[in-house]
């Protein structure tokens, strides 16, 4: 079923965050991986960096962290 507005907002926030700070490719740039796989991988990468439980899912702790004021330099230095 369609995501509720609240869930949709979280997803929008997360995708923006992961593109900016974790190099998640947008649109069709994902070389061979499905968008869901890439999305989960990137969430996991972010969770690992911040020493959160690595679930690949957008839980409350992960969203909370994404909302915090921070530096604009990506966490993946490459």
């Amino acid at each position: 079923k369609p995501l509720s507005t609240g869930e949709k907002d979280k997803e929008v926030l997360a995708k923006k965050y992961l593109r900016r700070y974790y190099g998640m490719p947008a649109g069709l740039q994902r070389a061979g991986k499905s968008s869901d796989t890439m999305y989960e991988e990137k969430i996991g990468e972010m969770q690992k960096f911040f020493r959160l439980e690595v679930t690949g899912q957008l839980d409350d702790d992960t969203v909370e962290l994404m909302k915090m004021a921070r530096c604009g330099v990506p966490d993946v230095a490459e």
Binding site: R20, G72, D75
Partner: protein
């Protein structure tokens, strides 16, 4: 710590910087003193000093022409195709060492910049950004300056992790004066790990160690490590003891001769108070551990080799105390670092050990490592 790919760094230790005014840079604050130009200059100069104190790097200010590090305030799209986002969120960014835009540092003009703990402290953010301008990437140590998320602290900004990182690029300062870096975040799987305090908080276990705490939810495998100040800016960096009174929905935090009452994330009005308000004599300067026993309504407070019993209902200390820890809790030793209570068992922490003590049968049932709760 991390560096940028290819360990980008400046090839000379004499680095120039110039401050470029793009737009009117100072946001006038209504509730704190204005941040004048000289305050901005001072904040930026002090931020450079943070790094020059521990390396051979020397920073020279230029008033015109091209400098290695060009500093500016800008809003939204400000000329580098890496736009800012208005208030909050993204605060600033800087480019790693290199020609042209390399080293340049930009601050989001839509933020409220301060020289204290309100909003965003310019000195702290500038210190972090200049770290990037010198070749440092983000650190995953939540206590280090190069951690990506903003947090305010009055103390010396660099941690040992930051110093290790920058000195691996440039070496130490040959004339280094004594600095007191913040220790790295404690490792939860260190076999010698001991705890400062343990408490429950609305179903989660909170474990305090140095400037940090771990939060462990029963349904989560991994604990979450955070700076104490990030969650509770009002309480000190070192916690001696803590306990939860679930009936009142408060967690009491003890540090030195003061105590704080927390209701979730909020400080209860009227706190901090002196621990002697509980009925402890003035000679007691610190509580080592505290635990509330739900079944009896008593809170046990451990100081040195003795303990006290506080009645939460009457708000008074029980008579006949203090008593000896060693006598009343045989098998756990004579001092305690932290204590917790679950389902009839007391858990006493001392050094790297944890003693599971049966309150009813008055004996130690198990001895484990203190950090066995982390499933290392």
């Amino acid at each position: 710590y991390n560096h940028f790919p290819r360990d980008l760094k400046w090839e000379t230790t004499n680095v120039t910087f110039r401050f470029v005014l793009k737009i009117k840079i100072i946001r006038i604050l209504n509730y704190t003193p204005d941040l004048k130009k000289m305050d901005v200059d001072r904040a930026l100069r002090n931020a450079f000093n943070v790094w020059s104190d521990v390396t051979p790097l020397r920073f020279k200010k230029l008033h015109e022409g091209n400098a290695d590090i060009m500093i500016s305030f800008g809003a939204k799209e400000h000329g580098d195709f890496n736009p800012f986002d208005g208030p909050e969120g993204l605060l600033a960014h800087a480019y790693p060492p290199g020609k042209g835009i390399g080293g340049d540092t930009h601050f989001d003009e839509d933020e409220t910049w301060t020289k204290d703990d309100h909003a965003f402290n310019l000195f702290l953010v500038a210190s972090h950004e200049f770290g990037h301008a010198l070749g440092m990437a983000h650190s995953s140590d939540p206590g280090s300056l190069m951690y990506p998320v903003y947090s305010y602290a009055k103390s010396y900004p660099l941690s040992e992790d930051d110093i290790k990182g920058i000195q691996s690029l440039y070496g130490p300062n040959p004339n280094q004066r004594k600095v007191n870096p913040k220790p790295d975040a404690p490792n939860k799987c260190d076999p010698e790990l001991d705890f400062d305090a343990v408490t429950e908080l609305r179903g989660e276990t909170i474990i305090f160690k140095d400037r940090f705490y771990w939060r462990l939810h029963p349904q989560m495998h991994e604990p979450e490590q955070t700076l104490i100040k990030s969650t509770w800016p009002e309480i000190p960096n070192k916690v001696d003891a803590a306990y939860e009174n679930p009936e009142k929905d408060v967690v009491m935090i003890f540090s030195g001769i003061k105590m704080w009452a927390l209701n979730g994330y909020n400080l209860v009005e009227g706190y901090p108070k002196y621990i002697h308000k509980l009925g402890l004599p003035k000679k007691i300067r610190k509580i080592d551990a505290a635990v509330h026993i739900r079944d009896t309504g008593k809170t046990l407070l451990f100081t040195d080799e003795e303990y006290w019993s506080y009645d939460e209902q009457t708000g008074t200390m029980d008579s006949g105390f203090p008593q000896s820890i060693e006598k009343d809790f045989p098998g756990i030793g004579d001092e305690v670092d932290a204590a917790a209570y679950h389902y009839g068992y007391l858990y006493f922490y001392h050094d790297h050990l944890q003693f599971e003590y049966s309150y009813s049968s008055r004996k130690v049932i198990r001895i484990m490592r203190a950090n066995s709760i982390f499933n290392c």
